[in-house]
Symmetry: none
Subunit: 408 residues, 2 copies
């Protein structure tokens, strides 16, 4: 198209969607957000099923959809996205697993699948194993909360088509991983060798010597499960021609952004929690506006409050976002701006739900539908109707004069 294409800012209030609770209102209905409402007035609103009606999205599947991918096609299981969520440097083709530190006896019988819910020392234990090489394949391990960790296998000719080492019950023998197809034989064999080698290394580790002394269960085995391959996603640049920037505090969002070919720098003060520096996040957008075409900003506080069941906290965080957004309103005047969530995290549920998300899109090219408030009920009356998460990016690109005609 002849016109100068516009830039796009997609603001994700993580877990913002909710159900009626306090006085029959949702936090978005109870909160004051004049700046967001002003954007709503100059655009179109609607509701979004991020995945599909009634299906609660994870943070991983939802952001894949928001970046325009069909999550049912590109989501390759928990392993890879667990690794991304821990901030591991994953690469397309890596085989990734969710793992536990566990306690086994000398015959590899499992005494505790969670190593007594070990809460310290896993960094040191993982460091000993991280980078191990077996037969040309590298193993990378990174701990998460308590006994949880993620494992990556990197090398050529690997396959995710292998069964779990974790038998999922105590008192059972650690399993031999089995190939589910002939091309996965080497991967299963290597995973089994890693399981044996890591047991040897962990058994003599000083963290475990200390745990023995204190009468604690040793973390002397790594139980891998949920194998998946890190998908090769066609990049945002290749799909759309846009240079993308992902501004997020938490590793899973940054990781998915990078997988999609967006730059995802660390922003000082962006914590991925309630105390995040929202001005710094929006400031990063203003600063980088010239250099990129597409910006995804994720703020996590709304989701944190949802999981905590904190209605008032969620209201306050929404109001903080609104105030912070107001400060950069001049930088929004020439962009296509969209605000929505990645999933609902109702304070009454304290977990993700499948309730649809409100969405508002504003900008010079956007039809004005008369909706003047950004919340679950007002947006449902809007001109965008009810759409799917993966449709948001194409809609934004079209409004930014960046879409390509299908046909002639």
């Amino acid at each position: 198209m002849a016109r100068e294409p516009k830039k796009i800012l997609l603001l994700i209030l993580d877990g913002v969607g909710d159900r009626p609770s306090k006085n029959g209102k949702t936090p978005l209905q109870a909160a004051k957000h004049p700046n967001i409402d002003s954007l709503a007035r100059s655009g179109s609103s609607g509701i979004v099923d991020i995945i599909s009606p009634g299906v609660p999205p994870g943070s991983d599947t939802s952001h894949l959809a928001l970046l325009g991918y069909d999550p049912y096609q590109v989501y390759t299981g928990r392993g890879p996205f667990e690794a991304i969520g821990l901030g591991m440097d994953v690469r397309p083709g890596d085989i990734a697993f969710r793992c536990n530190f566990a306690t086994v006896d000398r015959n590899m019988i499992i005494k505790d699948r969670r190593a007594g819910r070990i809460d310290s020392g896993t960094e040191a234990l993982a460091r000993t194993l991280n980078g191990m090489e077996i037969d040309g394949v590298r193993f990378y391990l990174k701990p998460g909360v308590e006994h949880r960790c993620a494992l990556i296998m990197r090398g050529t000719g690997l396959s995710p088509d292998v069964s779990d080492v974790d038998p999922h019950v105590e008192g059972a023998h650690v399993l031999e991983s089995q190939p589910r197809s002939s091309s996965a034989r080497r991967t299963a064999a290597l995973l089994n060798r890693f399981t044996g080698r890591s047991h040897e290394v962990l058994s003599v580790h000083k963290v475990n010597a200390m745990r023995r002394q204190k009468g604690l269960l040793e973390a002397n085995a790594i139980l891998a499960r949920g194998a998946g391959v890190v998908p090769h996603l066609p990049s945002l640049r290749d799909r759309t021609g846009m240079r993308g920037l992902c501004i997020a505090g938490i590793p899973i969002i940054k990781g998915i952004g990078r997988l999609a070919g967006l730059d995802a720098p660390s922003v000082k003060g962006a914590t991925g929690s309630m105390d995040t520096d929202l001005d710094a996040k929006f400031g990063a957008f203003v600063k980088k506006k010239a250099k990129y075409d597409f910006f995804l900003i994720n703020v996590k506080g709304t989701d944190v409050c949802g999981h905590d069941g904190d209605f008032d906290g969620k209201v306050k965080f929404i109001e903080r976002v609104d105030a912070s957004l107001g400060k950069v309103s001049r930088s929004l005047s020439d962009v296509i701006f969209a605000i929505t969530g990645d999933h609902s995290t109702p304070v009454t549920v304290r977990d993700h739900s499948g309730d649809p998300l409100p969405l508002c899109i504003s900008g010079e090219t956007v039809r004005r539908d008369g909706v003047s408030r950004f919340d679950e009920v007002s947006c449902a009356r809007g001109g965008l109707g009810r759409i799917r998460g993966k449709d948001i990016l194409p809609i934004l690109m079209d409004l930014a004069d960046r879409s390509e005609k299908f046909g002639a």
Copy 2:
């Protein structure tokens, strides 16, 4: 999720959707239904394309969609669902056909495809053939209205991939069923043997002797068409963990309920017609509420009036449903309640149409969208927007805190 999951009641007003006729109103717009409207006020409304926009659903395909199946995937043709509709005890893997009683001469040339629209004696004729065994395969026959009947073949190694015996024109020879694939050879051969054997048996039946005496056309052949296999549907319990109860008067709905793994008892007074005992149906829900998680209630009177072109009757039946529902309102307070139809049966059309259905979902967890009336036009302004029939069950499960996250 940690919270106690809620129970779900899905009330289907069969054929309730309509088009404007009397004073430009639909029966739902003309009727007074304060109890249903009160539920609408405490929830969200929308409109539903049970199958897909503009496609008139059958009672079979619609209820498959309402139970969360993709009808395009699981609907295996008219034969199986005709058999279910006649109340036959079908089993997954059965091969079923729609059939006619017909009149043939001694050379198997068809004189009348409908045996003079025979209107009595078919019960006795069918009884003679019902249960016939040929080469280890059982044949079950049940008559429907006039010359219509359904045939089931039950045994191992059967295939639905066979052509019709019915040539669909008079003056033609009864066809030899042909296999459309090599695995269907035996099925075609057995069907041909059944066709021959049934002709022999029927020719000497006393019902036909009486018809000859009266100068009526004999019903001396069974013309099978529309072969289909009874699908093996993953059960509601396996898909969702819910124990389901289907409360319906007519065989097709009970049969589809059973195929989906729901219990579908006979409810005394539930006739599937205008004179049905609505209090008994809602009473069955109240009585069984503790034992099941998901309830589907189908009331048929609205559809009967639609087929009869009876506007006032449809209005009155809707008002009767509303009054009856009002009596059990206390039992609805803690459930997720949804009311919609399975298809429109406009009184001006006297048949199913593809007009979308109004839908209202209410319950503690449901967003209140401000819609205060249950009808085709009011619901179209509601917060649910426009959805598909197969999305209703996932949405209800989510609101009942019974859904599973996709991703992490």
